[in-house]
């Protein structure tokens, strides 16, 4: 029983560290370190750097341009990425639709879509939730009716993250209502956002940002060969995707990075109000969080160890999602608490595009802490709310 890396794994770790040191663009790093929101161009440029290195499609098999890494290698990479505070890979293409296409798509679809996803040439977004279908996702109503060799889509998708930047959207849509269970009759269809009848309406969230959208489909004509896999089997494909999503949104390594920054902040007189340094109540909250996070790190390692000997990431990924997001939100609270009054200035545009100057009020990124706190209330809601995760564990692990 041990958590040591093999010599090969240690070499790999050094290689990854060197990569982040040399290839991670300084201007993007500066924005990240000062909590300045990234532009589409920043994300794409960074992902193209990863692609050039062959490290963009982390979970993909080698034959589709993936890394073919072991679970331990993936773990090392995620850790180093968090330590470098590099932007997370935008998940919709590389993390979500890519795996569905190479697993369930036909040869033509693989050749048509996968290379552009791997190279970040095409920006994808996710069309799952609807105004009337949140936790009860299978109740979705967006319809795709066959007409010759096309589907005609009608309906509304919502909470579409970064949909305003997207070229394509992958959707769960209803192709049949004549079914015994509502999970049947759902299909997985890819739609070009430029198709006539697709419109995107921004939703401004609690912190004042435009991150999510409503996407409307009005008589949108989509070729039949944009259907992935079999018609009516989309629910199965979509669920596989969600399990990938849940493991990755635990964000253990990133939370560790943030915890260390919070501790730095407390120690460093230039980064915080002096009275915080001796606030034993606050120090105890940090310590309790550190313990919970350490536990989750080992829970994740145990899951990885099981996966690396061939077990599928099952319902346990729900556990990681619940605790992982709880910890993230607790960190958000602590950063805001640490900022005190300086958490309250509402200065949405801290970054000047012309001068490239960053205008925060207070110490460090204090004035962004509340925006992060408000924004990240989403973490326990998205990817299947934490209550839905508990339903999954109750059913599939406890057998209730």
């Amino acid at each position: 029983m041990h958590t040591n890396f093999t010599p090969e794994e240690q070499n790999f770790e050094q290689e990854v560290q060197a990569f982040f040191k040399d290839k991670y663009p300084n201007d993007i790093k500066r924005k990240q370190d000062h909590a300045v929101p990234l532009m589409k161009e920043d994300f794409i440029r960074w992902q193209k750097v990863l692609f050039a290195q062959g490290w963009a499609a982390i979970n993909w098999p080698v034959e589709y341009g993936g890394t073919g890494w072991s679970t331990v290698q993936k773990y090392i990479f995620a850790n180093e990425m968090a330590k470098a505070n590099a932007p997370a890979i935008v998940p919709f293409g590389l993390g979500m639709v890519g795996p569905v296409i190479y697993t369930y798509g036909n040869e033509e679809q693989k050749q048509r879509f996968l290379p552009d996803i791997a190279a970040s040439n095409v920006w994808w977004c996710q069309g799952y939730s609807e105004p009337g279908s949140g936790s009860d996702l299978a109740s979705l109503k967006t319809r795709a009716d066959r007409d010759g060799n096309e589907y005609i889509l009608n309906g509304t998708k919502t909470w579409t993250t970064l949909g305003q930047m997207a070229d394509w959207i992958f959707c769960l849509v209803r192709t049949s209502s004549d079914v015994a269970r509502k999970q049947e009759g759902i299909s997985f269809i890819l739609v070009d956002m430029k198709t006539p009848g697709v419109s995107v309406r921004p939703i401004i969230t609690i912190e004042g940002d435009h991150e999510v959208n409503e996407v409307h489909f009005e008589d949108v004509r989509v070729p039949l060969n944009n259907l992935i896999g079999e018609e009516g089997k989309g629910w199965t494909y979509g669920k596989v995707l969600l399990q990938h999503e849940r493991t990755s949104i635990a964000g253990v390594a990133r939370s560790e990075y943030r915890l260390n920054r919070l501790k730095d902040k407390i120690k460093n007189a230039n980064m915080t109000q002096p009275s915080l340094q001796n606030d034993s109540n606050f120090l105890r909250k940090i310590a309790a969080l550190e313990i919970e996070l350490k536990a989750l790190e080992y829970t994740e390692l145990r899951t990885l160890a099981a996966v690396s000997v061939g077990k599928a990431p099952g319902p346990e990924s729900s556990l990681l999602k619940i605790r992982g997001t709880e910890i993230q939100q607790c960190l958000d609270e602590l950063f805001m608490e640490a900022a005190g009054y300086f958490s309250l200035p509402y200065v949405p545009n801290q970054y000047s595009l012309e001068s490239k100057e960053i205008n925060h009020v207070g110490f460090g990124s204090d004035s962004v802490s509340s925006l992060q706190y408000f924004n990240n209330r989403k973490a326990s809601i998205y990817g299947g709310s934490n209550e839905i995760q508990k339903n999954i564990i109750a059913k599939h692990v406890l057998g209730l």
């Binding site: 029983m1 310590a287 313990i291 508990k390 109750a394």
Partner: protein, 378 residues
Amino acid sequence: MDFSITEEQSALKDVISRFIDNEYDFERRMKIADGDDAFNREVWNFFVEQGFTAIPFSEQDGGLDGGNIEIMLIMKEIGRGLVLEPFLENIVLAGGILKRLGTVEQKERWLSEIINGEIQATVAFTEPQSRFNLNDIATTAKKQNNQFILNGKKSFVLNGADADLIIIPARTSGSQSDTHGITLFGISKLNDGVIFNTYKTVDGHSATEISITNLEIAADCVIGNVDEGYECLEETIDEATLAICAEAIGIMRSLHDKTVEYSKNRVQFGIPIGGFQALQHRMVDNLMACEQSESLLLWAIMTDPKNKRKSKKAISGLKYQIGTAGKHVGQEAVQLHGGMGISWELDIAHLFKRLSALEILFGNADFHLQRFINLSES
């Protein structure tokens, strides 16, 4: 990275697990707890015969060269079975002191006899005023010619009534809370000048208040160097803390499993109560508390013991978790069992009581959270 255990470790786990299942059922356990003796000698002999008592000692000392993983496997089962026999007191506590500091002569005289089951032993690690501070020692040992004269009080001495050997930390110099100036003495309970007050504890175990007046101790009963006993005491208590955390996890898992099982069978409003979402989510919380605790146990076990600050810190992190998550799981198990959960006749109540005792033993959650902070890099 590897979380698997070896074949030998797996075999060890099977032996004790089978013993709990087949020979140490709840009924027998309660008979032992209700009896006049603190524990059952036959059961202890079985532990000796199976070699459990030899596990954490070097071959040179007559042991089996086992480590924390083996102790963890045994203690989890001890937890699950609510075992009353003094493995912790003899092997982890007294054995822990002796394996670290005992001379060859002392090991022959005491450690070999502990391993063979010939004598019972313990460590008197706390005093009426000390709470969880191991260094708060008011018991004095004054050197006089070739011996020491001991005076003071020791509290909550586990296995105290049966112990043939009691290891007593006493102050030979310095003030009451100094870590320097603490010396470890091995004394026999038959000595004059020692008054015992033994009582049962809420978890079915027993403990003793010891009062020492002008007790004369020969110099060869000093374990380790005079004034330098603290480090060994702290390390031993840390190892014991790790052990009881494993015991607590054994209990937590048992409580969780029994609660889920109960919820599938208990019918109210026409359906098993496990069908109610309000209860399902609480049982999921219990499962997560168990898994997170297990993870911290593995962290603490795999932390390099040579890095003392880190390994102490890991143990305090774990004990904090057991103090909080354990309390949660225990209270929830009782609540979800309804009135049955507070019935003496059901094991749930007794698992909960032992878990509650373990939360306090060697420092509660608050104490260990503060120690965790103090051990953080500044």
